[in-house]
C-alpha cells in the first residue's frame, strides 16, 4: 500500500519553523561552549567571531584538570578511550549474559579504578579531586537513597493504614520545603557533633579499620559523608514517592503467588518484585544521580574545602580574560559529558520507567 504524502499546509510549515527555532535556541549554547573549549585564546578574543576553520587545542582542558603545561593531551585522550572501551565491552557482554550484574559491576569498577589511578600517571589539579568527590557523593547518595527508597516505597505501597498516609504526607511536606530551610540546621548540627568529637577526644582516635588515607581526624563537617547524608535526607521523600508509585502498579498477587510457591516475603521481594521493578529502579536512580551531581548549596555550606564540581566551576565565572573563558568552557563540557553519556545509555529505561510504569498488563 502506498501512503499518500502529507499535504504541505502553512500551519505545518509554521509548526516546523517553531520547532527548528526551539532546537536551535537550546542547542546553540552547547555547541558554542564546546567550540570555545577547543579554541585558542586569540580566536575566542577576536572581534569577529571565528565559527569554523579555527585551529583546535586541548590547552583549556589541560589547564583545568592538570597541574602541568607540557602534557601531551593525546595520551590522556587515549587513556580515557581505552577505559571507555573496556567498560563498554564489559557492559555489552553484561547485556548479552544471563546474569548481567557481575559484568555491569565490573564495568563500574574499571571506571572507578581508572579514576583512582589517573593521578599516578598525570599530575592533577584540585579540580580532579572535586571530580572524584562528585563521583563518590553521587554514587553513595544513589545507593543509599535507593536502598531506603525501595524498602520504604514497597512498605508504603502495600500498607494502607492511616500511619502510612501520614508518613507519605509528611515526606511530601519536607520535599516541598526549600533547601534553604534545611541547610543551616544541618550545618550547625554537624558543627555541634564536630565540637563534641573534639572536646571528648573521640575525633582524634585511631580506628584501624577506617584509617582512610588523608583522614586523620574523625569529623562530619567538610567531609563527603556530610554531603551524602544531607543529600540522602532531602532527596529521600522523592525516591520513596516515586518508587512507591511503581510498586503500587505491581499487583499484590505477584508476591502472594511467590509466597504460595514457597518463598518467604524477602525472597518474594528479591526474586519476583525487584526484577519487575528494574526499569523503575533505574529511572529513580538516574533522577537521584542528577540531583546529587548537580547539588550546589549543600556542598557549598557543609563542605568549605571538599567541593564537588558544581561548586568548583564557580571560581571560573568571575574571570574577564578570554583565557578563563576557554577554561570555563572546557570545565563545562567535561562536567556535562559523563552525565550525557549515562543518560544516553539508560535513556530507554528512563522513558520506560517514567512512561508506562513497571508492569505491562
Amino acid at each position: 500500500m502506498k501512503l499518500s504524502r502529507p499535504s504541505i499546509r502553512p500551519s505545518r510549515i509554521a509548526l516546523h519553523a517553531v520547532m527548528i527555532l526551539l532546537v536551535v535556541w537550546s542547542v546553540t549554547p552547547f555547541v558554542w561552549t564546546a567550540q570555545t573549549s577547543i579554541k585558542f585564546t586569540r580566536d575566542v578574543a577576536s572581534k569577529t567571531p571565528v565559527l569554523w576553520g579555527y585551529e583546535t587545542t586541548a590547552n583549556a582542558y589541560r589547564n583545568f584538570w592538570l597541574d602541568s603545561d607540557d602534557v601531551n593531551m593525546w595520551g590522556v585522550l587515549a587513556f580515557l578511550l581505552v577505559v571507555a572501551a573496556v567498560a563498554a565491552a564489559l557492559g555489552l557482554i553484561g547485556r548479552r549474559a544471563r546474569h548481567g550484574w557481575p559484568w555491569f559491576l565490573g564495568a563500574t569498577a574499571v571506571i572507578c579504578v581508572a579514576l583512582w589511578r589517573f593521578p599516578r600517571f598525570w599530575e592533577a589539579n584540585d579540580e580532579y579531586d572535586f571530580l572524584v568527590n562528585s563521583v563518590v557523593v553521587t554514587l553513595l547518595t544513589m545507593l543509599i537513597s535507593l536502598s531506603i527508597g525501595l524498602l520504604a516505597g514497597y512498605g508504603l505501597a502495600r500498607y494502607t493504614g492511616i500511619s502510612g498516609a501520614v508518613i507519605l504526607i509528611v515526606a511530601l511536606g519536607f520535599r516541598a520545603l526549600p533547601r534553604t530551610a534545611f541547610v543551616l540546621p544541618y550545618f550547625f548540627g554537624a558543627k555541634e557533633i564536630d565540637e563534641w568529637l573534639t572536646s571528648t577526644g573521640v575525633g582524634s582516635w585511631n580506628f584501624p579499620l577506617i584509617d582512610f588515607p588523608g583522614i586523620d581526624t574523625l569529623q562530619v563537617l567538610d567531609t563527603r559523608l556530610a554531603i551524602v547524608l544531607a543529600l540522602v535526607a532531602v532527596n529521600q521523600p522523592f525516591t520513596i514517592w516515586m518508587l512507591r508509585s511503581f510498586f503500587i502498579e505491581v499487583p499484590k498477587e505477584m508476591e502472594e503467588a511467590a509466597m504460595m510457591d514457597g518463598a518467604t516475603r524477602l525472597q518474594a521481594f528479591r526474586k519476583v518484585i525487584i526484577p519487575i521493578m528494574w526499569p523503575a529502579i533505574i529511572a529513580t536512580g538516574l533522577f537521584t544521580m542528577l540531583l546529587a551531581y548537580n547539588e550546589y548549596l549543600f556542598v557549598r555550606v557543609l563542605a568549605p574545602t571538599e567541593w564537588t564540581l558544581p561548586v568548583a566551576i564557580v571560581s571560573l565565572t568571575g574571570g574577564e580574560s578570554s583565557r578563563t573563558i576557554t577554561e570555563a568552557a572546557a570545565a563545562s563540557v567535561s562536567i556535562t559529558l559523563p552525565i550525557v553519556i549515562v543518560i544516553i545509555l539508560f535513556q530507554k529505561h528512563l522513558v520506560r520507567g517514567l512512561g508506562a510504569g513497571a508492569v505491562k498488563g
Binding site: E256, A257, M260
Partner: protein, 392 residues
C-alpha cells in the same frame, strides 16, 4: 491423604466489617469443592484465609490433623491459581513453572523433567521458552495451572481462575481443569461467582452469601432441593421464578385438593406434593413463597396433554429464540420475591416477571396471550419470613 476442615471460621476487618461468619466446611481427600456466591460475599476471603494470605479472626483450619492457623503460606503445602494468574513477567514459561521447585531446591535435572511433564499435561511444550507477555489468555491460565500442579501439593486453591477468559475458552478450560484435578486426585477448593462453573466442576457445591454459608450439597442436590430462596434463585440460569402466593386447601369427598393462588390465577398442586412436605399444611391460607424453574413451564400449544388446572395465562413480553429452546418472558400479576442476590439485574426484580423455557417449536409471539403448562410436581415452597424451604 489430605482432607481439609474449616471450623467456625470468622473474619473481621479492622473497620468492623464481618466478611466471614462461622464458616465450617469439610473436604474429603481428592474432593473438588466449589465455593460459589455473588460478588463481595466473602468467598475469596475464605480462600485467602485457607492460603494464609489473610489473618484468621477466630476458628481453625486443618489439613489432615495439622492445624494451620499460624503456619506461613509457604509452609502450608498448597498451590494457588489467581484470577489474574500472577505470572512472573520477567521469567519464561519454563522458569515460571519451575519457580516453586527452585525454591524447594529441587535439583536442576529433576526440575526440568517435572516442568516438561507438567507442560505436556497442559499442552504448553511449545511455549516453554516464551515470556508470559507473549502468550494468549488461555495459555497464561495454563501456565498458572502448571505452576500449581508441578509441585504435587496437598491442596489446590483456585480463585476465579476462568473469569478472565472469553466464553468459549472458559467452557473448554472448565472441562480441562476438572479433568486434570480428577487425574491428579488433589483436593481442590475452587472459588467462583459463576454458578455454571460451580454446577459443572464441583463434586460438591457450597453456596455462600454475605459471609454466611447457605447450603453444601452435590450439584444435583443444590439444584433440586435448594434450602432457601437465595440458593434457589442463585443456582440455575435463567433463575427460578419466585412469587408470593397462598396455598389453599379444598376439602372434597374423594380427598383434599390443593391449589396455589398466584395473583388472580389458581394453580392446582397434586396432593402427593403436599404429602411429601408435611410442614406445608401449617402454612395454609398464609402467604408463602412459591418457586418454579423455567424448564418446568411449557407452551400449552406444544404440549396439549396437561391437566387443565395446572395452567396459567399470560401475555408474552419478550421472546428469545436460542435455537435448541426458546426463552419466553411474561408477566404474572403475582408479586415477585427478592432473593437477595446483589448481582441480579434490577429488571429481573420487576414485579411479576416470569421466565419460561419453551421448546423450540413454540410459536408464541410477543403480545400473544399464551397458555402456560406448569409442572406442579416441581414447585418449590419457602417460608415468607425466613425464606427457608418448607419441607418436613
Amino acid at each position: 491423604m489430605s482432607t481439609v476442615t474449616l471450623k467456625n471460621l470468622v473474619k473481621d476487618y479492622p473497620n468492623g466489617f464481618r466478611a466471614i461468619t462461622d464458616l465450617s466446611l469439610h473436604l474429603d481427600d481428592g474432593e473438588f469443592l466449589v465455593l460459589v456466591g455473588p460478588s463481595g460475599c466473602g468467598k475469596s476471603t475464605a480462600l485467602r484465609m485457607i492460603a494464609g494470605l489473610e489473618d484468621i479472626t477466630s476458628g481453625d483450619i486443618y489439613v489432615g490433623d495439622r492445624r494451620l492457623n499460624d503456619v506461613a503460606p509457604k509452609d502450608r503445602d498448597m498451590a494457588m491459581v489467581f484470577q489474574n494468574y500472577a505470572l512472573y513477567p520477567q521469567m519464561t514459561v519454563a522458569e515460571n513453572i519451575a519457580f516453586p521447585l527452585k525454591l524447594r531446591r529441587v535439583p536442576k535435572a529433576e526440575r526440568t523433567a517435572q516442568v516438561r511433564q507438567a507442560a505436556e499435561i497442559l499442552e504448553l511444550t511449545e511455549q516453554l521458552d516464551k515470556k508470559p507477555a507473549h502468550l494468549s489468555g488461555g495459555q497464561r491460565q495454563r501456565v498458572a495451572m502448571g505452576r500449581a500442579i508441578v509441585r504435587h501439593p496437598a491442596l489446590f486453591l483456585m480463585d476465579e481462575p476462568l473469569s478472565n477468559l472469553d466464553a468459549k475458552l472458559r467452557v473448554q478450560m472448565r472441562a480441562d481443569i476438572a479433568g486434570i484435578q480428577r487425574e491428579l486426585g488433589v483436593t481442590t477448593f475452587y472459588v467462583t461467582h459463576d454458578q455454571v462453573e460451580a454446577m459443572t466442576m464441583g463434586d460438591r457445591v457450597a453456596v455462600i452469601k454475605d459471609g454466611v454459608l447457605q447450603q453444601v450439597d452435590t450439584p444435583e442436590g443444590i439444584y433440586g432441593s435448594p434450602d432457601n430462596v437465595f440458593v434457589a434463585a442463585f443456582i440455575g440460569s435463567p433463575s427460578m421464578n419466585l412469587y408470593e402466593a397462598t396455598l389453599e386447601r379444598h376439602e372434597e369427598a374423594g380427598g383434599d385438593r390443593y391449589s396455589v393462588a398466584l395473583g388472580d390465577q389458581r394453580l392446582a398442586v397434586p396432593p402427593e406434593v403436599v404429602a411429601a412436605r408435611p410442614a406445608l399444611t401449617g402454612h395454609l391460607d398464609r402467604p408463602i413463597v412459591v418457586g418454579v424453574r423455567p424448564e418446568h413451564l411449557e407452551d400449552a400449544a406444544v404440549v396439549a396433554d396437561h391437566p387443565d388446572d395446572q395452567r396459567l395465562d399470560a401475555t408474552v413480553d419478550v421472546r428469545e429464540a436460542l435455537g435448541a429452546e426458546t426463552l419466553v418472558h411474561f408477566n404474572l400479576s403475582a408479586p415477585s420475591v427478592d432473593s437477595g442476590d446483589p448481582d441480579a439485574l434490577d429488571e429481573l426484580r420487576d414485579s411479576g416477571r416470569c421466565t419460561a423455557r419453551f421448546s423450540a417449536s413454540s410459536t408464541a409471539r410477543v403480545g400473544d396471550r399464551a397458555r402456560v403448562n406448569v409442572d406442579s410436581r416441581h414447585l418449590h415452597f419457602f417460608d415468607r419470613q425466613t425464606h427457608l424451604a418448607i419441607r418436613s
